[in-house]
């Protein structure tokens, strides 16, 4: 598992992300996909699929994994690990504070 260090950044209002979906945010040079699980919690991972560059924020999720929309490989949203032998994706700390999405610790 790779928890990547990242500067604390306010990404925007939480309402930007519907339940069960993801949106992409550009943070400096990094593209980060933030998902709002149906249980209300957030997950942040690198936005680019390591397989062939698929946009992970367009993928489908449950409370554990995100499934890339291009070839349907899955990654664990908490650890970033692949379930099918693909390279891992970065995971970032993320939380909600006063209706805003806060990336970083």
């Amino acid at each position: 598992m790779t928890i990547a260090p990242i500067e604390t950044t306010v990404l925007g209002p939480i309402d930007e992300i519907p339940f069960g979906e993801g949106r992409t945010y550009a943070v400096g040079p990094d593209m980060i996909a933030v998902f709002r699980l149906r249980d209300g919690s957030l997950r942040a991972v690198s936005a680019v699929c390591p397989h062939k560059g698929g946009p992970l924020a367009d993928g489908q999720i449950d409370n554990k994994v995100v499934v890339c929309p291009l070839h349907l490989y899955a990654w664990d949203l908490a650890t970033g690990c692949s379930q099918s032998g693909q390279p891992p994706i970065n995971v970032y700390p993320v939380r909600v504070d006063d209706g805003h999405i806060i990336l970083g610790d």
Binding site: D15, E16, I17, P18, F19, G20, E21, G22, R23, T24, M31, A33, R38, A47, V48, K52, G53, G54, P55, L56, A57, D58, G59, Q60, I61, D62, N63, V65, V66, V67, P69, L70, H71, L72, A74, G85, Q86, P87
Partner: protein
Amino acid sequence: MTKRLVVIGNGMAGARTVEEILARNGDFTVTMFGDEPYGNYNRIMLSNLLAGVESEEGIYLNDLAWYQDNGITLNAGVRIERIDRFAKMVYATDGTATPYDKLIIATGSSSWTPPIKNIHNPKRGFHQGVFAFRTLDDTRGMIRYARDHERAVVIGGGLLGLEAARGLQNHLSEVTLLHAMGHLMERQLDEKAGHMLQASVENKLGIKVITNAMTTEILGKDRVTGVKLADGTVIPCDVVVIAAGIRPNTQVAADSGLTVERGIVVDDQMRVQDEDDIYSVGECAQHRGNLYGLVAPLWDQAKVLADHITGRDTEAAYTGSKLSTKLKVAGIDVASMGLIAPETDDDEVIIYNEPKKGVYKQLIIREGALVGAILVGDNSKAASLIQSFDRVQALPEERAELLFDIGGPAGEVKPEDMPDDAQVCNCNGVSKGAICGVVNAGCKTVSGVMDKTRAGKGCGTCKPLVQRIVEWAAGGEAEEDPAASWYVPGVPMPKPELMAAIRKYELKSVSAVFEKLVPGGEHDAKSKMGLASLLKMMWADQYIDERDARFINDRVHGNIQKDGTFSVVPQMKGGVTTPAELKRIAEVAERYNVPMVKLTGGQRIDLLGIPKEQLPAIWADLDIPSGYAYAKSFRTVKTCVGSDFCRFGVGDSTALGIAIEERFQGLEGPGKMKLAVTGCPRNCAEAYVKDLGVVAIDGGRWEIYVGGAAGAHIRKGDLLATVGSAEEVIRLTGRFLQYYRENANWLERTYAWVPRVGIEKIRAVVVDDAEGIAEALDAAIEEAVQAYKDPWKERAVPATPGQFRTSLPLTVLPQVPVRS
């Protein structure tokens, strides 16, 4: 102490040997060198890759993660040029030196180039347009080049040449096969069989075959324009593929002082002659005077080598292999094993010859055992013959039983009759015993056994046999892969039970289904799309639409492409358009710089490469409803011009097609529904091969065919009914589609569902109302039709915040070319 094992060659034999060593817990740190810049792939499948029935991803046997997970250092793209057997080092062309304690040479073969004038370009390998057929790079190059050219010549009429010729037909229109000998596959077939094969290849496949053709020269200055034969014949072409044979890669071994004759000479332990620590395996090895060019022997060699090198069984000995081959060309059955002609007067020869059907079978029996067989045009007995041949089994007194199925189920080997070491999967070398072992260890599902043994994961032809063996080994209690009967993987219920539960508890959203019907209430991403489709079908406008349950295509109503952009396919009912509509589409394409405008196979126009954020604006400017080219739903109705214009038309197919599309547009289902209406049995709209196809016949009547396909699977539809009016067609179409929607499994197209249920049953329900549900089906489809809304209307008010926000820019994505 852990020893250093170095393997030269990362092909099928090298990687398999390492797998066998790992399976024996061999205590080695492994370093592999491979000249090709890839992990290990299934070379056999290059034929299928060329033929377009396999993808590049699908042919990898071990991906890079496998090497990592097993602690193997893979030097891909690095060639070894010298071995120092005294210092025990190997030297690579990149200048590195690597020490070993044990060395395995598995350098395989290269394709052999016959001496043909002008075949090479002095500056760079082959002349432009000339290809070998051995590696993934060869195949890629060939596909890329063939795509923009018309005519190919394949030199060599053996297994490889035939597979190359067939594969090339997938990319260009004219293929000629040149063979220097008198008949095709002369090493595996006798003359009669060779001629029979030639007739099939020419008539069924449309490949031109010239035998006794000695190619002497490649014509063309900068690139190939033709080939010339010894008799002066010139065959114009732009692509030449050489499949004239292989030569073992022995240069490195020879240069380093190892014993090399035709191949690297090894003993029964696969150890190189006079060497204690160097082994050789695969096509480069010469064992008891024999070289092998097929994978089956490599698997046996790899096992012996692994037994020996790990000390598991130092007495293990490889004693040679008996060869059998099958041609991998769809529709052309050829199998051969052992002798192709009798050798003594006492050899018993049995021949069956039916030239009209292209069937020829020959068996050679010596002292009651099968020593050779040739099958052309009918491979149904191949598996049992290969088994008799390998095992030297006693043969039935009634010799005809060897050639035909007399009574008993057609062409099936019975698991109980197979010896334990009979090879079931010829691609991955898995025996019946190995499969039974896994079953006995507790894995009783077919998919589980396939994962564990890799049986059935090569070309896939043995899957039915694997299934029968698993069932037999589990003593009739093969666990149904429980999940195999479920509608979606994350909810443990088959479709009828699931639908009953959804109705009982009135579950109207996907999360409600997870929470009520899955133990622990666990959600499952991979099940959401199927559930969303089912609930929408069941509840129509009462369905609670959670947008995250939709696949991205259904969230933004376009098909996601490899670069993360989307495609826009406006509706064009029955394939009919107007100048005004065409102008509008053209203007939009220009205004938005659409990278590609393309006519689809579904008779409409596709605008490809649209960024997500532009979708709403484009839909607004087009102002045409969605063509639903992205969803598991009703797609198109292809039509032909029919009686309005065509001199043969006997029905107004265009009007009927438009009416059907108008009525059922957008209807979601377990799989895509593609229809067609054609104006006479000439079938220009391809109605016989559609999910539902309508054919006008003389006398104002219409035939309705269902369950046809011409995609990954080809099937002519079954005749459901012949009716007297267009209204009747529409009514039965609706009823059939609804019956399919309610009963088919998720992603089960009609071409699988119709044969599964049986056309008689479907006809009884849909046409004759045998179950008294016709009215209910009609009502349900009417409700669904009324619930239709054009999804592209979401352009005005997005359904969710950020619905069309980009998930890009992802510069790492492959770029899609702009064609103008």
